[in-house]
Symmetry: C2
Subunit: 199 residues, 2 copies
C-alpha cells in the first residue's frame, strides 16, 4: 500500500492522472525470499483489474510446478478478471517445437524473443518475467537489448522482472526496484524448502 | 525457489522430513514494496496445497479493497484448492457487532483476539496477518504476548506477518525474515500509486 505523498512533482508536462498511470518496469532482486511471490501477488491485482496477464517462467527445471501456476490458471479461467497465459521454459516453451532440443541458453533467448513479440503486439498488460534476471546476469540474453526494448515498449504494458543479480543497467531503467534482503531463512537453521511455502 | 542446501544440519532429533515440515513464522518487513504482495503470493501456494487460508487485514481504512481479496475469494470458492476466509479490520471485523464502534486500537486488539482463537482451534494452515507489524509497533497489541502465542501455537500452522517496523523480538522469534528494501520507487519520481499495481 502506498505510503504518503510524492516528495516532489516533476515538471514533465503530464497531468497527475497521466503520470500515475504510466506503465512501470519493476524489478524484484536480492537474495531474500519474496521476489517471485511478490510478482505473483502483483498478478492478482492485475487480474482483478481485468488485465491480460502473461507469465514467462525462466526456470531451468520442469520439476517446479509452482502453486501460483494452478492458482492463476484457475483465476484466468474463472471469467471474473483478466486472462492469464502461462509460459514455462522448463518444459520447453509451448510455441517451440519439441524436436528442436534447445539448450538452456537458447531456450532463455527463445523466451525473450516471445516476450518481444508480445510487447510489440501489446498482448498483455502485465508481464511477469520470473527469474529473468539470471539469463541477463549470465549473458545469455543481451541486457542492453532488454533495456532498449522495455524502454521503447508501446502502450500501457507493465513489466515485473525477478531474480538475483539483476544487472545495474536494468535497475537504472526500472521505475521500481525492491531488494529482498535476507535477514533470516529456515535453510540457515538446516530446514529445507517445503511445499506450500517454497512452491 | 530455494537455492542450494542447508549449510548445517542441526542436532535436534528430527528427521529431515520432520524438520522440513515444521510450521514457519515468517515476517516481511522493511520500507520497500512487496511485503503484502509476497504474503498473498504465498497464500496462492498454500491454496494450491488445499490448505485452509485465513487472512486478517490490519488496515485502518475500508477504502482499500485490494485485488488480492477478490482473487483469493474466487480461488476459495472454486473448490479446486483450499478454503479462504478473509477478515478485514477496515470495515469492522465481521464477527464484531456493528454497534460496538471500536476505535482503531481496540479494533486491532479485537483482530488479534480472533487470531488467537483461530490458532487455538487450528482453524487455518496459513495465516496472513497483513500489516500486523504496525499495531505491535504502536503498542496497541502486546508484542511479548504475540511472540508467546505464536511460539506455542499447536499443530502445523504457518503464519506470515507483514508491515514496516516489525519489532525486534518478533524477528528473533521468526523462522524467516525478509526485509523489502527500497532501491527505487515511482513515488520518488512524483508518481502516485496506481490501481493494478498498488491495490
Amino acid at each position: 500500500m502506498p505510503q504518503g505523498q510524492p516528495v516532489s512533482v516533476p515538471d514533465d508536462g503530464l497531468t497527475t492522472r497521466q503520470r500515475r498511470n504510466r506503465p512501470l518496469l519493476m524489478v524484484h532482486t536480492g537474495i531474500g525470499k519474496g521476489k517471485s511471490t511478490a510478482a505473483f501477488g502483483l498478478a492478482l491485482r492485475a487480474w482483478n483489474q481485468g488485465w491480460p496477464v502473461g507469465v514467462f517462467q525462466f526456470v531451468k527445471s520442469a520439476k517446479w510446478k509452482v502453486g501460483e501456476e494452478n492458482a492463476l490458471k484457475v483465476l484466468g479461467a474463472s471469467g471474473e478478471g483478466g486472462s492469464v497465459v502461462w509460459h514455462k521454459m522448463g518444459e520447453g516453451w509451448s510455441w517451440v517445437q519439441r524436436d528442436q532440443q534447445l539448450d538452456n541458453e537458447a531456450a532463455a533467448r527463445e523466451g525473450w524473443e516471445q516476450v518481444k513479440r508480445d510487447l510489440a503486439a501489446e498482448t498483455h498488460r502485465l508481464y511477469v518475467l520470473d527469474e529473468f534476471a539470471y539469463p541477463m546476469h549470465w549473458g545469455w540474453v543481451d541486457t542492453d537489448e532488454v533495456v532498449e526494448v522495455l524502454r521503447d515498449r508501446p502502450g500501457s504494458q507493465h513489466v515485473v522482472i525477478t531474480g538475483r543479480n539483476a544487472p545495474a543497467s536494468l535497475l537504472d531503467a526500472a521505475d521500481l526496484v525492491t531488494d529482498m534482503s535476507k535477514v533470516k531463512h529456515p535453510m540457515d537453521a538446516g530446514q529445507k524448502g517445503q511445499r506450500g511455502i517454497e512452491w
